[in-house]
Symmetry: none
Subunit: 193 residues, 4 copies
Amino acid sequence: MTVKQPARRSERSRQAILGAAAELVAEVGFPKLTIEAIAARAGVGKQTIYRWWPSKGAVVFDAMLSGMSEDGDLSLPDTGDLAADLRLVLRGTVAEMADPAFQAPGRAMTTEIQSDPVLAREYRERLLGPNLEAAKARLRSAQETGEVGRNVDLDVAVEMIFGPVYYRWLLRLGPLDDAYADAVAGLAVAGLR
Amino acid sequence: MTVKQPARRSERSRQAILGAAAELVAEVGFPKLTIEAIAARAGVGKQTIYRWWPSKGAVVFDAMLSGMSEDGDLSLPDTGDLAADLRLVLRGTVAEMADPAFQAPGRAMTTEIQSDPVLAREYRERLLGPNLEAAKARLRSAQETGEVGRNVDLDVAVEMIFGPVYYRWLLRLGPLDDAYADAVAGLAVAGLR
Amino acid sequence: MTVKQPARRSERSRQAILGAAAELVAEVGFPKLTIEAIAARAGVGKQTIYRWWPSKGAVVFDAMLSGMSEDGDLSLPDTGDLAADLRLVLRGTVAEMADPAFQAPGRAMTTEIQSDPVLAREYRERLLGPNLEAAKARLRSAQETGEVGRNVDLDVAVEMIFGPVYYRWLLRLGPLDDAYADAVAGLAVAGLR
Amino acid sequence: MTVKQPARRSERSRQAILGAAAELVAEVGFPKLTIEAIAARAGVGKQTIYRWWPSKGAVVFDAMLSGMSEDGDLSLPDTGDLAADLRLVLRGTVAEMADPAFQAPGRAMTTEIQSDPVLAREYRERLLGPNLEAAKARLRSAQETGEVGRNVDLDVAVEMIFGPVYYRWLLRLGPLDDAYADAVAGLAVAGLR
DNA sequence: AAGTAATCGAGACGGTACGTCATGTCTTACC
DNA sequence: GGTAAGACATGACGTACCGTCTCGATTACTT
């Protein structure tokens, strides 16, 4: 969340808290995670957490952000073959979602977002939004080559691509493997034509 | 959840608990819902809840089940026009999801499913599964008329239909209206061809 | 307590309850003794206990009564030598009080008597009273031989004899052995002259 | 009880708890006294009680200690006339025991001591012991004047003095008035010669 | 270099809810 | 009708965390 960065904040404590939060959410899951446990594990006073983060969710969110390479290039490949590019992207998405290290915090995030509007906004704007924007950019380019219909609503289009994957992941409806990624990519490309 | 059915369980208490849970989850939301409040509202001892349900989530789940017409005909319409049928179904789905009365418990359910495997199974088997099966049946019929390709994996196909809607709903990515339902239906039908 | 003796009372259950109570009070002590545990140990419904006894204390009291030879001859020996007779009696009293098997129920009794007037009355009339009466009888006889002064209040006198022993036992002020019994007997006899 | 004195304990809370405990034990009696009620009356969290006292009994004990002038001069009068001095002391003892305000907590204490060894020790060392010591000191002085035999065991002697009173009080064997105090004093002095 | 103010660790505080236990009442089915 | 079994409403238990608060003790800027 990183509310603000005042002069005298202890970076050491911040790191310890984020690290402890990341460890603990993986160990016990989000619902059983407590601020007290984070403070204890981080060797930090509770107040230091309350001073800088508004909620448990915010801490975990920050911990997840720290754990990600925020600088990563989000843009999708553009080889001119939309189907191939989507297959590639979805295979990556699917692999990440199947990764056990991502599961606990990922689900926690989804959960927390449901009851914390501030967090939800943060999530949409800082994590999800940029990714969806990148996908839309690729589809826009595909519209120019004619691979995607001109009248297709791109907001709906990106949801057609990632929605099914997210759905299967969250509700554990089936395996998240390359075959699945390819199938979704195939149906999507066909639909967008 | 209805774990087991020993001897003589008080039906009156069961109804009161389920009713109170449904009311309270709508009033305060799932995270702020407490067993004590349910017991108090239902005029029931806490132990009576703990005796029959393993967790808060299980109670709310049961409450939701009770609130639904379980006998309802799940099968999709089959007018011979797949696109029209899907539009109809998705409009209904979207309307339900936009309904404020469904929001709180619906999100609560999704949330709770993430950390309770028993509940998750129950959810998939008793609520989600039948609905997806009904959709698959309609698609299978569409395969016979040629509206859907023979080699399309129907599991993936149903996720292509409902996944995007669920995605938009859960992450609040945009409005859930008829236009959106139609757009999703359109793209899906095109993809499945 | 034995409230009443209606026709169809199960003697088998009564015995089982009293036995279980006696065992349990020795095992866990009176404060941790529960009606449920007694019922379970006795293989009896809780209601059967509630039907026949008004309180936990009453059950234990009855159990203790059953455990004692109620028919025993309470009268003190009268050899003509009061000091010797008292030594004998007090040695017996002291030995009983030091007996581990008597400790738990004995203390429980004392405890329970404090807050249950009915029980207290029962205790004084059925257990304590007869014993004190017997001692008074012996002292009365001693008054005739001149070993005890004519103007001595015998109620006070018996309390001078048993009070110190009870005091030392209840508050664990020191060992309860023959030497102590003899010392008390000696001082008492001297005082009563 | 005052288990330990770490860091910064709230004196205000301590007083409120002790006060509430004293009031409540007088109102409802020890067996019906609950920690929750004490906390509520004191305007304090339950945890604050559990943090500093190990049991309900310990709280009440502390409350009683606070209610007593701990600084009081315990030593018995020494006018040179043992009988007169003992009469005086026993009249005081008897009056205190007959005082309704002392009854409930006094009996509670006795009761609680039976099942809590820690409390029992505390009681013997901090309340009872000093009083008995004071009495022994007076008797020792009497041994020098010849009023008490040289070979009398003073531990037994003090029990001969207070035991009967305690016995009559606890088991409600008779009135606790001046006449009784005098009778006990008289018999005791005669015995100790 | 000393003064000073924000931050830190620690943890006590008033609370809420937890999940468990025992109470005493009740209902059912058996004998 | 008494019984074993056990569900029920009640209410206290002792524990876990909540979010706030105070306490020195650093610590890094200011003067």
